[in-house]
Amino acid sequence: MDCRAFRARLRGPAADAPDRTGPGAGRLDEAARRHAAACPKCAADLRAFTLLALGSPAGAAPGPGPGFEERLRARLASEAARAGAGAARPEASWLDAIGWLARPALGMAAALVVASAGLYVWVAPGPSPSGSVDLAQMVEGDPVLDRLLAGETVGFLASPSLDEEAPPAGAAEEER
């Protein structure tokens, strides 16, 4: 027997199946045993395979225990109930709640944010010291984005000029 034949004998479909002689040398015929005794590499393979077969048994039971399908159905039902409850929550579909009419306005607002960011880059005195535009600072200072983030989605878009910022609270008192 050569090493190739030995390895083929060692491994294979259900190599540790109970109807065979179990893991390790016990399942090998005499020729294979003689080969393993004479070949250190195949002996090491046999030792490794024995460890694998011992630590990864297929188990005595051929399948899940009785009542498995009923338990699975119960879990499926509870999962479906949870999913149904989640879908019923109003916040799950906030975009639907504001109505399809608001969607074009939101799209316009997003386009304006992009346009104003582009304008800022165009008119800015120069690149930041690092040589690139500081996007985080640019977005933080954008008034349109601030108002969108504050929850104003539609109303202020109808104002005459987006460049006119509302005076900060208390500014009127300071002017006096």
Binding site: L46, R47, A48, T50, L51, P57, G65, L76
Partner: protein, 203 residues
């Protein structure tokens, strides 16, 4: 005269029947899904049992697999036998279970036995052990195998114990045949090193 071209063989008929069953289950047909569960539960269980210590843990994995199959079926697109897909879901679940256990405990050979080589040598010689010692030997071997990377262990079990080909393992793990062969080679080397770390029986 029998027209061989017009009369599909049992394999084709079985495949077409299974595809129909899967399509019905994906459309929400509960009896069709139950039928799929009956067909594949033992196969998934046998695989799961190889990676966990108890029957109950294996059953938990089988439940997880079928819950995931149920959730994913509406988006399932058949690109091969359904068994490959379900085995892929199952090997992912087994890999997750192995990862969880690896995080929990790191063992060394000297920690797990006073005479660490005795049990492996006994198994190698084919000597029969009493039930308690055989169970202890299995647990020691399982502790050692937990030291292997989960992907290595999955490839070893599928190829060397389940007798699957590299192509079948590739389909079951979402890998390529070449990648599976390379991993199997490395994993066998790691396993040999692991077995070499178990000292020979003290005499």
């Amino acid at each position: 005269m029998r027209d061989a071209a017009a009369d599909p063989g049992p394999a084709e008929r079985g495949g077409a029947e299974e595809a129909l069953l899967v399509a019905r289950a994906a459309a929400g047909d509960a009896p069709a899904f139950d039928d799929l569960v009956r067909r594949f539960k033992d196969r998934v269980f046998r695989l799961a049992r190889r990676f966990v210590r108890s029957h109950e843990d294996a059953e938990e994995i089988v439940q997880e697999v079928f819950l995931k199959v149920h959730r994913s079926l509406p988006g399932y697109r058949a690109g091969g036998p359904f068994e490959h897909w379900i085995l892929r879901v199952a090997t992912n679940a087994c890999r997750d279970a192995l990862r969880r256990r690896r995080r929990r405990a790191e063992v060394t050979v000297s920690q797990i036995a006073d005479n660490p080589g005795a049990w492996l040598d006994a198994a190698l010689s084919g000597a029969s052990l009493d039930a308690a010692r055989a169970e202890a030997a299995r647990l020691l071997a399982a502790d050692l195998l937990d030291l292997l990377p989960p992907k290595d262990r999955i490839v070893l079990v599928l190829m060397d114990l389940e007798g699957m080909s590299a192509a079948e393992v590739a389909a079951a793990t979402g890998s390529t045949r070449a990648a599976v062969k390379v991993r199997a080679m490395r994993a066998r080397r790691s396993l040999r090193r692991l077995a070499e770390r178990v000292p020979r029986r003290r005499t």
